[in-house]
């Protein structure tokens, strides 16, 4: 399984693990993804959520714009809301006029204190597995609601997922070094996931 661990950057103590060089590279990559996505679509904000399948949650991993200071690490149920639909279905989605909808994406809105008027979301897919979701909030009016924009976001998300996959394979280069306890636990979990995947039960 190539899904990156989703709890590595979370501030709360139960989830915190020491930063490793790979984590820094991943953080930088994800921040770059949301910064560029926000710029492409002239948006108020952009976020990446990664899927934590065990916890059945999506986790904010990087944010550009609104919520940048406090959202990273926040979690919400993986099957809910637009991001949940995108993660579950593996399809991109574009919606507009959301601010008219008082009940829009309640769990997300409550955690972010920000309800956008328009939202675009695309899955991050690698090897037919959904790693997470890239969202763009309040893109400029010229860059929303069209099929072309949907295509562009989906293509960009694909590129981001490919980059994540490359990063996920990097630790193999330093595999000769002994692993400390928590890194070892991570590696074992990864192996377990891979085994489930190979058995077709993951």
């Amino acid at each position: 399984m190539t899904t990156p661990r989703t709890d590595a950057t979370l501030p709360p103590a139960p989830f915190a693990v020491p930063a490793a060089p790979g984590d820094d590279a991943r953080r930088e990559l994800l921040q770059s993804v949301v910064d560029v996505a926000r710029a492409i679509f002239g948006a108020a904000a952009s976020s990446v959520f990664l899927l934590d399948e065990e916890a059945d949650e999506l986790v904010f991993q990087a944010v550009s714009g609104e919520g940048e200071e406090f959202l990273v690490g926040r979690r919400f149920p993986a099957g809910r809301g637009i991001a949940g639909w995108v993660a579950s279905s593996g399809e991109p989605m574009v919606v507009d006029d959301l601010s008219q909808d008082s009940s829009f994406d309640r769990s997300l809105a409550e955690s972010t204190a920000y309800v956008p008027d328009a939202l675009m979301a695309a899955p991050l897919i690698s090897d037919a597995r959904v790693l997470g979701v890239l969202e763009v909030l309040d893109p400029s009016p010229q860059a929303r609601s069209g099929v072309r924009e949907l295509d562009l976001l989906a293509m960009f998300a694909r590129q981001a997922a490919a980059a994540l996959r490359v990063l996920a394979t990097q630790p193999a280069v330093s595999a000769a070094r002994p692993l400390d306890g928590e890194r070892r636990e991570d590696a074992l979990q990864l192996l377990g996931s891979l085994e489930r995947l190979l058995r077709g039960t993951g």
Binding site: E53, G84, W85, S88, G90, S103, F104, S145, V147
Partner: protein, 293 residues
């Protein structure tokens, strides 16, 4: 469809070929045309059962109207067993409500049923989707709207068989093409009606002369019902599909005996880009030398 049901004469249950019987032994009562050759009255979907396989459908949304029944596919995380149960949870996202609203707008008098395959736990589009679709086909709904697909090829053979069973069982599966150019199912199968988006503002459908996706419907900036009784605008093949599903419901309400292949033909003939033209001067029948037969 010929079946090997009980009580049939041995050898005559299956119609692998027609042995010892003639046309009078296999009569097919087709729908009558409108009386007096007059144009048929506007069909509204009345009497047609449509099932939305998606994230659920919000109850009491004014743009959706009555939802006749709501079901959810539940997978036990421990045992892996999958069941379909009645539910009152409505919609977990808004997507299913949007699809139901487009169907209602297109075929206002049809019956809408919902089976939720998303939102219970993160399940991806695999076995839970498969179970929901199988259940809908077993319930013999007239139309199944599936604005979803799975990229997991291991489900393809079973989905293919299910789609064929639905086709012969007169359950038409109207399935969205994926929004990105990836391989996914079941929209790729010829036994479903596959739908992608066009970019026209008008509510019309087009036949694609270059399948696999067979029809295009309005899928850009579509006004749809959403959670909380509200309305939003959205884009994607997901929303072109229920338009075509609604058209199917309308056609079936006027012609309840139609088979799925007739329905496809009706959609083909009524597509905005299909026009009867003059016969080519060298029609195939004229040029072939078939004197041997």
């Amino acid at each position: 469809m010929g079946t090997s049901g009980g009580g049939t004469v041995p050898g005559q249950g299956l119609t692998w070929s027609l042995r010892g019987r003639g046309p009078d032994d296999v009569p097919v009562p087709a729908d009558e045309g409108p009386p007096g050759g007059l144009p048929a009255r506007q069909a509204t979907g009345r009497g047609v059962r449509v099932c939305v396989v998606d994230s659920g459908v919000e109850r009491d949304h004014p743009l959706v109207g009555p939802v006749e029944s709501s079901w959810v596919v539940v997978k036990d995380p421990a045992s892996g067993s999958i069941t379909v149960e009645p539910t009152v949870t409505g919609d977990t996202c808004g997507h299913g409500t949007a699809c139901a609203g487009i169907i209602r707008r297109t075929a206002p008098d049809c019956e809408i049923h919902s089976v939720r395959v998303l939102g219970e736990r993160f399940s991806g589009t695999g076995d839970v989707l498969m179970a929901g679709l199988r259940w809908a086909v077993e319930q013999r709904f007239d139309v199944v709207n599936l604005s979803l697909s799975t990229t997991r090829s291991r489900f393809a053979p079973e989905l293919h068989g299910l789609a064929d069973r639905a086709y012969f069982g007169r359950t038409v599966i109207v399935a969205s093409a994926h929004n990105t150019p990836v391989e996914s199912f079941p929209w790729r199968f010829a036994s479903v009606i596959s739908v992608g988006s066009h970019q026209e503002d008008a509510e019309l459908h087009l036949y694609n002369p270059d399948p696999p996706v067979e029809f295009f419907g309005p899928g850009q900036n579509v006004s749809v019902p959403w959670l909380g009784g509200r309305t939003i605008r959205t884009t994607g093949n997901s929303f072109a599909t229920p338009y075509v599903a609604g058209l199917c419901a309308r056609v079936l309400s006027g012609h309840p005996s139609m088979t799925v292949f007739q329905l496809k033909n009706a959609l083909y003939l009524s597509a905005a880009n299909v026009h009867a033209g003059p016969r080519p001067s060298t029609a195939a029948g004229d040029t072939s030398d078939d004197s041997e037969n």
